[in-house]
Symmetry: C2
Subunit: 306 residues, 2 copies
Amino acid sequence: MRFSVLILGNSSATPMYERHPTSQVVNHNEQLYLIDCGEGTQMQLTRYGIKSNRINHIFISHLHGDHYLGLVGLISSMHLMGRKTDLHLYGPAPLEEILALNFKYSETELRYNLIFHPTNPTETAVLFESKLLRVESFPLRHRIACTGFRFQEGERPAKLDIDKVAKLQIPPALINGIKWGLDFTDKDGKVHPSSELTTPAPLPRSYAYCSDTVRIPDYLPSIHRANLLYHESTFLHEMKDRAVETFHTTSFEAGEIAKEAEVGHLLLGHYSARYKTKELTLLLDEARSAFPHTDLSVEGKWYEVE
Amino acid sequence: MRFSVLILGNSSATPMYERHPTSQVVNHNEQLYLIDCGEGTQMQLTRYGIKSNRINHIFISHLHGDHYLGLVGLISSMHLMGRKTDLHLYGPAPLEEILALNFKYSETELRYNLIFHPTNPTETAVLFESKLLRVESFPLRHRIACTGFRFQEGERPAKLDIDKVAKLQIPPALINGIKWGLDFTDKDGKVHPSSELTTPAPLPRSYAYCSDTVRIPDYLPSIHRANLLYHESTFLHEMKDRAVETFHTTSFEAGEIAKEAEVGHLLLGHYSARYKTKELTLLLDEARSAFPHTDLSVEGKWYEVE
């Protein structure tokens, strides 16, 4: 079952040429979820071959422009392209007012339902839950209200032993039940336990997203043991004072946070425009000194949650 | 004296990969003016080497997203980059409310003065006037209130006859006055009329911008004899009904309008996403059948007003 993340933008507040404001796509089991929607997100989606109408859930962390200014354009384009499917939007409560004001003056009446779910800036909350996936928000600490997000898989089905299924001539209609733990009774009345027809389910995976925040221990439980953590890393640690002043994190701190939270893999992003693209390896080296399994996020690249 | 226009975006409502929402830069005498500011304008400015802090006047035609959604991002980035100079913004009155709401929730307090000038959607009005340039707005007819803009040069100074200036040893301090019509009295008391020391001033030039509008005769006087006219050309004429329904113009109509207004040169833009880039020549051919001196606007290209 696919679980991966496409980086559309990894720049901090001021975009640079070919470094875009924050946005990313999570693909879980071929369902697409958008996290943050900085200016230009709809063009980035087109560039990387993502059909925006496949996105049914959008999560906005906070109301700094580099995280939401692409939203009115994206929602409008979905409308112009004939979308009919409901779109669920999760974000800070005032976002609804901002959207309404733009649509009022452009006289836009969406042809689909835009269902807004305000996020809770002070407590962890479940935003979305299906059998396969649960999305939670949790408070970060930034200059304004901001939440992170955790995409947590539910229990996964066991893997079938194909040879045994063929040998026992198990009808296709029963397969799914067996993967989820039902036993199979053959035509002679013999019971074959699910556990004998399958290998154990893989562990549920999770992806955690933290941007923007100053380093605080409060959100460590929310990202604990995530297989993949995207964490902002705006500055080098020599800019620690500036990071605290602007409620951001240094790359060394991002590494320490990944270590403390025992995550599997750390992805850095939200780079300050002060660093040229070739200088980003400085951020990477610093984070790796605290947490070796770290990579720089690169726009246009998919990262597996594993 | 330089007078030219850089196209940053020429797509209609739905952007395409490498065709951006509407925005353009007018350079008159090395002063930069921005017309419209679709999503991604700040990135397009960077891409084409325009320092946004050189822009002191921004003109917004109307409040459809593809003409203003890049504004909050651009204004914020100017702030983050330390701008101190006043910025004058001209556009529909509700734009001020939209900006204020965004800045309220992002808790942005601009470090420079943003001076908002609401445009008049029903009458021609002078927005800005200096000795060298006057910018007027005039009503267009679109689904919502919309104005075009005319950049009109003032009287231009006469051109000096360099040889005569050298021969008469005219002091540099007097040169500018002579170009503007003052006579020169030499040390023997002989008067040399300005007209003998100069060749006549070139005619004042003008640039007119019309996007978005359905074809109506009302605005023809406002674009009359513009040296360069940028006119929207959303559809081929076979889509005339759709153009009327959506308050847009066909390319054949744009050509006819250019002819009726006796402009010097027509530039097409605001192309519908239904036309692939290689199909835009169909729009061009159609406009040229009515007005031969027509070109397709191309993003990243400067067009002279001459």
